[in-house]
Amino acid sequence: MSTAPARPTTESSTAAEPYALHVDDCASIEEEIRHYEDPRAASIGALKIVQKRHGWVPGGAIPAIGRLLGIPATDVEGVATFYNLIFRRPVGRYVIKVCDSVACFLTGYEEVRDEICKQLGVGFGETTADGRFTLLPICCLGACDRGVVLMIDDDTHFGISPQDIARLLERYP
């Protein structure tokens, strides 16, 4: 009987790692808290604030957010691991999110996906060796009349076909 392979871990993703929230991030989170009747409701916003600083959420930030909101770190981690736009592992400089839902699927998603994978040399869930791009699938982006749709960070690109990919990627050095 063979032993199960070790689960891949990222060195700096454990909650035990010391982490101090940036003073600006603390202020932004405090401002978030004021939008709600209960500080817990700011947990997603807080994770997004920390992620904006690092590109992802380092492990030590989880208990730090928990302390600020007055909720257990496990609850913050539960939220962080539930939502697909919160990254608990390092990502590339840019995150590409390709819509793989039905309307794009019917209008050329597979060809676009294959071209991106070919040019980047990575598959979904992977980051290019130079740390430039992380590639992820995403749910319907709500522009089905202009498929194929993809996002690179906060930019949404419509009507993408395989021949557009090279020029599009060049815009993200």
């Binding site: 997004k48 539960g78 736009l85 839902s101 709500g142």
Partner: protein, 439 residues
């Protein structure tokens, strides 16, 4: 385009949406003034009920009835919430994006009027995180409305106070379900809650809460301004349902797009006149009437009125009313596999039938797609459709997921059968554990 016939979209401008001054010059916030100065909150609810406004998020529940369940009066809790479900993520649906990006003040005004009707203390626009432009524009509209005195304490000199916030999400499809949305807004994992209690009694932070879709809410100011009879007449006798509807088409058609039309126009008119028909060399194979979680309909259903009752009678649901058309170059198995992959990935994992049943259906469909299906696979899929159907799971996610699957088997059984290995090959191949489990 006029306010009389296309109330939802006549002020839509995607390039430069109207600021508050421009919006006010086109009857903007007139409904807020009218409601607060001339109408009791219960009157607004009554008008919405009588106008027969039904939810545009997919379920078609009468909006006024939903509001009518909220406790009112002196003894009602002081905190009550109105949430706009702007988590548009139903595959094939792209209507709320237009309303929010193109006319943000319309939604803000709608939230104020609806908030007044239920005497909400706060409103939240629960917006999916990917709608970056909508978030910016709504935020700006809220700030402008606040500066103009349409939000905040003692609105327009009335005793009622109302604040409005944009809350952006962090992904996942399940927050579109209203009780999962409430959990998500509270900063929790977005799993659905048991009902009852219904949100109107105990929702956000345990307080009375109404959750309405963007398009639903955007109708409200127009009903208040122009009245019940006008709204009922918008469907021009084509349907029992009232008002207009944002209908759209995506897929391999000549002009995919979105149009505001009288409620209940036939699907054929939308597909052929507005979308220009199928692209050169392609034929219509089947279509989803309103998103991924609706049953497929066939070309012979195109003359049906696209309204809640008619589409339900044909064995599907109108859902969001945006058509996804499948052309004849596609194998139905591949399309259904794509749909079920989506639902399997987006299951929140809270209840077993959904969490385990949906990936199972994906494995079977992928095998059929490769031509490696086993005898009995179709029967297992049919069984899954029953086991994941209404009443078997915690929320509507899995029942919605099996709608396209069950209808694909109904209309295209021959394609499923063609995916099963021939007897000669079958003798060599081992049965899958999945098939054994049911055998």
């Amino acid at each position: 385009m006029t306010a009389e016939t296309k109330p939802l979209t006549y002020r839509v401008d995607l390039a430069t949406p109207l600021d508050i001054r421009g919006y006010e010059s086109q009857e903007g916030y007139a409904a807020v003034r009218k409601a607060l100065k001339e109408m009791q909150p219960s009157e607004v609810t009554h008008w919405v009920k009588e106008a027969n406004l039904r939810g545009r998020g997919g379920a078609g529940f009468p909006t006024g009835v939903k509001w009518g369940l909220v406790p009112m009066g002196e003894d009602a809790p002081r905190q009550k919430y109105l949430i706009c479900n702007a988590d548009e993520m139903e595959p094939g649906t792209f209507k709320d994006r237009l309303l929010m990006e193109g006319a943000p003040h319309q939604l803000v005004e709608a939230m104020i009027v609806a908030g007044y009707a239920i005497q909400a203390s706060r409103g939240y626009i629960f917006l999916r995180g990917e709608y970056v432009l909508a978030a910016e524009r709504l935020q700006r509209a809220i700030e402008e409305a606040k500066a103009a005195g349409y939000l905040g304490a003692n609105l327009l000199g009335s005793p009622w106070s109302f604040d409005l916030f944009v809350h952006t999400g962090a992904g996942r499809y399940i927050p579109g379900e209203e009780t999962a949305l409430i959990n998500s807004l509270e900063g929790r994992r977005a799993r659905p809650r048991a009902k009852p209690p219904y949100p109107q009694i105990a929702g956000l932070w345990g307080k009375p809460t109404v959750v309405n879709n963007v398009e639903t809410l955007c109708n409200v100011p127009h009903i208040v301004l122009r009245g019940i009879e006008w709204f009922r007449g918008l469907s021009q006798g084509k349907s029992k349902d009232s008002g207009t509807k944002l209908y759209g088409v995506s897929g391999r058609v000549r002009r995919p797009g979105l149009w505001e039309l009288p409620f209940g126009v036939p699907a054929r008119e939308i597909l052929e006149e507005h979308a220009g028909g199928m692209q050169e060399g392609r034929k219509l194979k089947c279509w989803l009437p309103g998103g991924a979680s609706t049953d497929f309909l066939m070309p012979e259903h195109l003359d049906l009125a696209l309204d809640f009752d008619t589409i339900a009678k044909a064995g599907s649901r109108m859902g969001t009313g945006l058509l996804t058309v499948v052309d004849d170059s596609r194998s139905i198995i591949s399309v259904v596999r794509n749909l079920e992959e989506f639902f399997a990935r987006e299951s929140c994992g809270w209840c077993t039938p959904c969490r385990d049943g949906l990936p199972w259906s994906v494995r079977l469909l992928a095998a059929l797609e490769r031509g490696e299906g086993r005898p009995g696979d179709i029967e297992i899929l049919e069984q899954l459709c029953r086991f994941l159907g209404p009443g078997r799971t915690f929320c509507a996610h899995a029942p919605g997921a099996v709608e396209p699957l069950q209808s694909a088997i109904k209309y295209f059984r021959h394609e499923f059968e063609a995916g099963i290995v021939k007897p000669a090959a079958q003798a060599v191949a081992q049965r899958t554990p999945a098939a054994q489990a049911v055998a």
